[in-house]
């Protein structure tokens, strides 16, 4: 055992200590350390990191799982991964709550004689599945194989399976499949796939209804790119009828129909340009007036497009019409963005998926880790195929299945995934399975009649990537998280086909209310709904928790007699729903928006019955133009039902009331000069604190912060922050140590141009902290390094500190926090779990500070800048949070504190916070 590498270690976990381990990890342990004889690599109190791939959405970000004493505690972004480069969104962070979800399937289920699903042994279930498949195999194409977006070994294995089963019915189902964008690319460029968007190289980023900062294709990676572009001076403009979070982060919101607006810009750009004569002809009817674009705004945008590296991105679900996507393609074309910032070098794993599926004529349908029956309910259950579902959780699909096989979650399984061609991202088990589940690959190998293990299957498939010695290549790939190949540049050209017919729908005016559904930031297409963190984190724009809502414009609301929190009924030809209304000035009159992802019926205790399923309002059939589900654009009727919407909105007030908490400034030509900064002397009658040798501080760049909430999820994970549920959240008892504050503006009223200001609020670690002197027992105290310490076991719970905190960032344990087993396995052993009756708050992740200091001491070196990243800073896909020691004048934090955009919240109170903010820029 002189050389133990990760692979060996996992082998040891799996085989070597099987007896001892199995007993300890599958049931609640009686001892703190679940090993009697630990594997050699494992040192108590010392974390191990395993690189893998996030499978919470099709983006395929690289992750690192932090393992302590054989258990995964936290997932962070893999800094070497080409997709996300270190950041990770909130859904990725919540993967651990999928792993430890108390509602996970624990045994296989087989539909019994009575018609109910009954627990069965693995042998019985596999036999039943094999028998089913053997019977169906007799007829050609009678077996369907459904997954979500998949590219890699699982895709190959699916092909092998189907070959063995005498079928070619491969289904890749993703409810959010960007069909319109892919269809438009096929028409325009003869390339039926998603483009590679190089945001970082663009200086004018125009977003047409899409949400690249939220869920669109690869949000963590796009966030990184957009941040990079912004730091280089890029301006972002959002075109659409609903101000999404992405729109809220844009410098300008041009309200209207995205396709029409794009065509109006095309029209203005091509005026008198002989190169684009055909396009100009198609664009002729789209006058700026018709699109609702003021001529001077149109001229300004045209000038900007001409002067800068341009990138336009077309709709996700919020603008899912083919015409919109074609219009944006034409805009990119005439602006010269194609082959520059919009490229087709790599194919996406989403290129082969569809948002509709056809199960007709199947005798058996194998569903691997997908939940089609949440979005598209089974039509005729009796006449449909027999369903074998491989799933980690109970889902709407497993409820309809005949055989349910519980599989590992991604953090327990082997696998690989290729989000973009050439980016081979590996998955390895970071810990032993929590339950008696199996690796989906192993199950499929068995069902297809092949022998061997899935890990070997992947290895065999990976042999072709290795140039020399495979073992060292494999070891290296595991260590790095995958294997990345460069993609050769591939140029595309406009096909020249006549697109005027496809653009025609943009000229039509419809009456009544338009329904817009959108993938929710927290739950995406619904797959994150059983993670309590994601339910409890407020939606950034509406600040709603544990619910769905219908966004209505204030003018419409007046007409309908609806207030925020009232229950409304939405009716479409497909169905009707009752849900709470949210009156939102960021949506145009005549539009009603509903997030997707809630309203589950069989997805565990945290998801069932929470909100409504907006998919029921949308035809789950291919739109004739785009070929996929048309999530937005249909007509909807809306009426008020009563006042009992039961909405829980966390935000206490929508306006800043001149408090300057979330600040922004106008920059660029024509912007008013920034107000002269007045440096007030910092006065105190008490002697100043001496902070030696460190004074920890944080800077939050509000220009980079997108409001995605990754930091909040990271904080929940790192600091054992409990989840309280909807009822207690309604009472203001959510426990999150860091919150995203959302204010509407500008100024003291909500008026045009409507704007959204966001800021992060966490303990400001004040130098003149109001919380400290009022604590009667010194539970709140000032540390040598400038932190506001909070000693939980000294706290008696007077709550005076919280009262006196101007930022109200302290959280009180009103009840004893509980984690439904095995969610408690996720708890970070480095952080105390708090008892009821005590106050808690952000500690700047003091455990990480201590660990970094220890490490530096062991390595006999001084602590370097950047050695410490609190969980929030580490997770931020936009790298908006910088942490460091201000006593070191060379540190990044010290430099940021000298930035002229720097301000501190409620500075005039002389609390002298250690957290600084950098004003957001609104570029005009």
């Amino acid at each position: 055992m002189s050389e133990t590498n990760r692979r060996d270690f996992v082998k040891i976990l799996g085989i070597g200590s099987a007896a001892g381990l199995a007993g300890c990890t599958r049931t609640a342990p009686d001892t703190l350390t679940p090993y009697v004889v630990p594997p050699e690599e494992m040192v108590r109190g010392h974390a191990l990191w395993y690189r893998a791939t996030c499978r919470e959405c099709p983006a395929g970000c690289g992750i690192e799982a932090r393992v302590r004493e054989g258990r995964v505690h936290k997932v962070e972004g893999n800094p070497e991964h080409p997709v996300n480069g270190g950041g990770l969104c909130s859904r990725g962070q919540a993967a651990v709550q999928g792993l430890y979800n108390p509602d996970r399937l624990r045994t296989p289920l087989v539909r019994g004689a009575g018609g109910a699903l009954q627990p069965a042994s693995w042998q019985e279930a596999l036999d039943a599945a094999s028998a089913l498949l053997a019977k169906a195999r007799g007829r050609k194409d009678a077996i369907g194989f459904m997954t979500g977006a998949s590219a890699g070994a699982l895709d190959d294995l699916a092909a092998d399976c189907l070959k063995a089963w005498n079928s070619a019915r491969r289904i890749r189902y993703e409810p959010v499949a960007y069909d319109s964008v892919r269809a438009a690319n096929a028409l325009c460029f003869d390339r039926p796939g998603l483009p590679v968007l190089r945001f970082a190289e663009a200086r004018a980023i125009y977003v047409f209804g899409a949400d690249p900062l939220e869920t669109y294709v690869s949000p963590a990676g796009y966030t990184r790119g957009i941040t990079e572009a912004r730091r280089a001076g890029a301006r972002m403009v959002f075109f659409g009828s609903r101000l999404s979070l992405t729109g809220a982060r844009a410098d300008e919101w041009v309200a209207g129909e995205p396709g029409r607006l794009a065509m109006a810009l095309v029209r203005e750009l091509t005026a008198g340009d002989a190169r684009f004569a055909a396009i100009r002809k198609w664009a002729e009817p789209f006058t700026p007036e018709r699109a609702g674009l003021k001529p001077e705004v149109a001229q300004k945008l045209v000038r900007e497009i001409r002067a800068n590296a341009f990138l336009a991105v077309a709709g996700g679900v919020a603008a899912s019409d083919l015409a919109d996507a074609i219009a944006v393609n034409l805009l990119n074309h005439v602006a010269g963005a194609i082959n520059k910032t919009v490229r087709f070098d790599r194919a996406s794993s989403l290129d082969t998926v569809s948002s509709v599926f056809d199960a007709s004529g199947l005798d058996a349908l194998l569903v691997v880790d997908a939940n089609p029956f949440y979005t598209a309910p089974p039509k005729a259950a009796a006449g449909g195929p027999k369903i074998v579902a491989l799933s980690s959780y109970p889902t709407e699909t497993t409820a309809a299945a005949d055989i349910v096989l519980p599989i590992h979650t991604p953090l327990e399984s082997w696998g690989d995934y290729e989000p973009w061609a050439g980016i081979h991202s590996l998955q390895q088990p970071a810990m032993l399975p929590v339950f008696e589940t199996r690796d989906a690959g192993d199950v499929l190998l068995k069902l297809s009649g092949a022998s061997g293990e899935y890990r070997d299957y992947i290895r065999a498939r990976w042999k072709k990537f290795a140039s020399a010695d495979f073992e060292s290549f494999w070891k290296d790939a595991l260590k790095r998280g995958g294997h990345w190949e460069d993609a050769p540049a591939r140029e595309v050209r406009l096909t020249g086909a006549d697109l005027s017919a496809q653009l025609k729908p943009l000229l039509e005016n419809a009456s009544g209310y338009m329904l817009q559904t959108y993938a929710s930031l927290a739950h995406f297409d619904g797959r994150g709904a059983n993670r309590p963190w994601l339910q409890e984190m407020p939606d950034p724009l509406t600040q709603v928790v544990w619910d769905s809502w219908a966004e209505v414009n204030p003018d419409d609301a007046r007409k309908l007699g609806v207030k925020t929190g009232d229950r409304v009924r939405l009716r479409t030809p497909q169905g009707q729903l009752q849900l709470a209304a949210y009156v939102y000035p960021g949506i145009l009159p005549g539009t009603v928006a509903v997030p997707l992802g809630q309203g589950h019926t069989n997805f565990g205790r945290y998801a069932n019955g929470v909100g409504v399923n907006a998919a029921a309002l949308v035809a789950q059939a291919p739109d004739p133009a785009a070929g996929g589900v048309r999530w937005s654009g249909g007509r909807v009727e809306i009426e008020r039902v009563d006042a009992n919407g039961g909405l829980v909105v966390i935000s206490g007030h929508d306006l800043q009331e001149s408090r300057g908490i979330a600040r922004s400034r106008l920059t660029g030509a024509g912007a008013p000069a920034a107000a002269e900064k007045r440096e007030e002397p910092e006065l105190s009658i008490y002697p100043e604190h001496e902070h030696k040798p460190y004074r920890w501080a944080m800077a939050i760049d509000l220009d980079a912060c997108t409001g995605c909430g990754a930091c909040i999820a990271a904080c929940y994970a790192e600091n054992n922050v409990p989840v309280v549920g909807k009822e207690e959240a309604a009472r203001g008892r959510e426990m999150s140590w860091i919150r995203l504050e959302r204010f509407f503006g500008p100024g003291e009223t909500v008026s045009a141009p409507f704007q959204v200001d966001l800021t992060l609020m966490l303990c400001q670690q004040c130098d003149g902290a109001p919380c400290e002197p009022v604590c009667p027992v010194f539970a709140a105290y000032h540390t040598q390094e400038g932190l506001n310490g909070q000693i939980y076991n000294r706290c008696v719970g007077t709550r005076y500190c919280s009262n006196n905190c101007p930022y109200k960032t302290r959280r009180f344990n009103w009840f004893q926090a509980e984690w439904a087993a095995p969610l408690d396995w996720q708890l970070n052993p480095d952080v105390t779990a708090r008892t009821r009756g005590v106050m808690e708050k952000c500690t700047f992740c003091v455990q990480r500070i201590v660990e970094a200091k220890d490490r530096a001491r062991r390595e006999a070196r001084p602590l370097a800048d950047g050695d410490i990243a609190p969980a929030c800073a580490q997770s931020c896909p936009a790298a908006a949070i910088v942490f460091g020691n201000v006593n070191d004048p060379a540190s990044r934090i010290a430099r940021l504190q000298a930035n002229d955009r720097r301000y501190r919240a409620l500075e005039e109170l002389n609390t002298r916070p250690a957290v600084s903010y950098l004003e957001r820029e609104r570029r005009i």
């Binding site: 935000s651 206490g652 007030h653 306006l655 800043q656 009331e657 001149s658 408090r659 908490i661 207690e728 009472r731 203001g732 008892r733 919150r739 504050e741 959302r742 204010f743 609020m761 109001p770 002197p773 009022v774 604590c775 009667p776 027992v777 010194f778 000294r794 706290c795 008696v796 719970g797 007077t798 709550r799 005076y800 919280s802 009262n803 006196n804 101007p806 930022y807 109200k808 302290r810 959280r811 009180f812 344990n813 009103w814 009840f815 004893q816 008892t835 009821r836 009756g837 005590v838 106050m839 919240a905 409620l906 109170l909």
Partner: protein
């Protein structure tokens, strides 16, 4: 009026006093026990609510983030305020030789002691971990941990415990001569208990000499406490930085408010008591009218304080203060603000009319208003300031839940229960001080 004047004609003399005042301690009737049981039941319900809260956590109450203090601290300050009348009447008015204090001060002191005992429960009820409440006391221990003397809450501990100690001392000392009378009229174990409480009082000249000296001394000791206790309680708020709390006017404002509510509570206790015990010759309409006059005075101070608070908020041009006071006047709790102004300022000012301050129903009604008003005064100060502070994102409306309401009701029941027990076990009017004000008895008077 005729009844009042008729009663006034009843001649007080030494023996009448002894007879009348010891009679109050005769075995009680059915009504007494009925009321006692009802009060005990309500107090017990409050205790049950507290036990639920102890078992499940403070979350069962309505207090929440950001309103960390709600009904419990409101009730705490309310009872501390009630406790102020006693010392004011017994000590301050004693030093100023105000004669009308004599028949009321015993009840007032009892109100003080019981109100402090009630108030003292509330910090415990409101704490997250009441089982470690002793950590607020400076006691020697190995860890070397002491309380934080910069925290107003620690000052509170000292202020309240000092006040309780001195009040009890004053109360017990002032009763010694009377208890000796009771001792001499009881037999058996009662005789022994009263004997113990009378501390061997014989009524000798030498004892009287020491006694009066000690009494003056205790009064001088207690007088500053009238000012200090509620000043310190007000510092719980004034020492913070929260808008609406952080203001220099709080100590005098709170002391005036405390005396205001304390006097009203004494009136509320004394009026039924003198009726039930037939003590009208002792506690006359003139006494009640005098206390009513004091309510005009304290009510005017409060009116001034309320006005100044709003004026300063406007005059300071401070965005937080202005916003908060606008919220108090027109926001979610505006009804409470206008209610308290009406109850505390407008109500008592009616006492300027002689007819009002000599009308028992009017005094009772206005005293009830004052107590309601003073409760809401503290409620508005605490809840609006916390629910509407610096960061608008954190603004929130606080609504109490059943444990808070139950414990509030329980605290009233508990207070009246204590008083009811006291009224049967101890002389409610000071015999020796009333006698002191009578002409010395002469031989021919004894058979009158």
């Amino acid at each position: 009026m005729s009844r009042e004047t008729g009663v006034d004609r009843y001649t007080l003399n030494y023996s009448n006093i002894d007879v009348d005042l010891v009679r109050t301690m005769q075995p009680a009737g059915k009504l007494y026990y009925t009321v006692l049981v009802i009060l005990a039941a309500i107090a017990g319900w409050g205790g049950y609510a507290w036990s639920v809260q102890l078992r499940l956590g403070l979350g069962v109450a309505g207090i929440t983030w950001p309103v960390g203090w709600g009904f419990y601290i409101t009730t705490f300050v309310f009872w501390v305020g009630i406790a102020h009348s006693g010392t004011l009447i017994s000590a301050v008015l004693f030093l100023f030789r105000v004669r009308w204090r004599s028949p009321i001060y015993r009840s007032a002191e009892a109100v003080t002691v019981f109100a402090v005992m009630t108030a003292g429960l509330f910090p415990l009820i409101h704490m997250g971990r009441p089982w470690v409440a002793y950590w607020l006391m400076p006691y020697p221990q190995m860890g070397g941990l002491f309380p934080n003397f910069r925290s107003p809450l620690v000052w509170d501990v000292f202020a309240i415990s000092t006040y309780l100690t001195v009040s009890v001392l004053f109360f017990v000392t002032g009763m010694a001569p009377d208890l000796a009378i009771v001792r001499d009229r009881t037999v058996g174990w009662r005789n022994k208990v009263y004997g113990l409480l009378a501390q061997g009082w014989q009524g000798t000249d030498r004892q009287w000499k020491h006694y009066t000296a000690a009494y003056v001394f205790l009064a001088a000791l207690a007088t500053p406490l009238v000012i200090s206790v509620h000043s310190i309680v007000s510092w719980d708020f004034a020492m913070s930085i929260i808008p609406g709390w952080h203001t220099a006017i709080f100590p005098p404002y709170f002391v005036a408010g405390a005396i205001h509510s304390g006097l009203a509570m004494v009136l509320l206790i004394v009026i039924p008591m003198r009726r039930i015990f037939n003590l009208q010759p002792y506690i006359t309409g003139e006494h009640l009218a005098n206390m009513s006059k004091m309510l005009i005075f304290t009510g005017l101070i409060l009116g001034y304080a309320y006005g100044i608070e709003f004026f300063i908020a406007w005059y300071s041009n401070n965005v937080y203060e202005r916003s908060l006071f606008f919220y108090r006047a027109f926001g979610d709790y505006a009804w409470a603000l206008w209610l308290l102004v009406a109850c505390n300022v407008l109500g008592p000012s009616l006492f300027v009319f002689r007819r009002v301050r000599h009308s028992i129903p009017a005094i009772v009604a206005i005293s009830v208003f004052v107590n309601v008003g003073m409760f809401f005064e503290r409620f508005v100060i605490i809840v609006t300031s916390l629910g509407h502070s610096f960061d608008p994102f954190t603004w929130k409306v606080y609504v109490p839940r059943w444990p808070e309401v139950s414990i509030l009701a329980g605290s009233f029941a508990w207070f009246f229960l204590l008083f009811l027990i006291f009224a049967k076990l101890f002389p409610v009017v000071s015999m020796w001080e009333v006698k002191e004000q009578l002409p010395l008895p002469r031989k021919e008077d004894t058979h009158a």
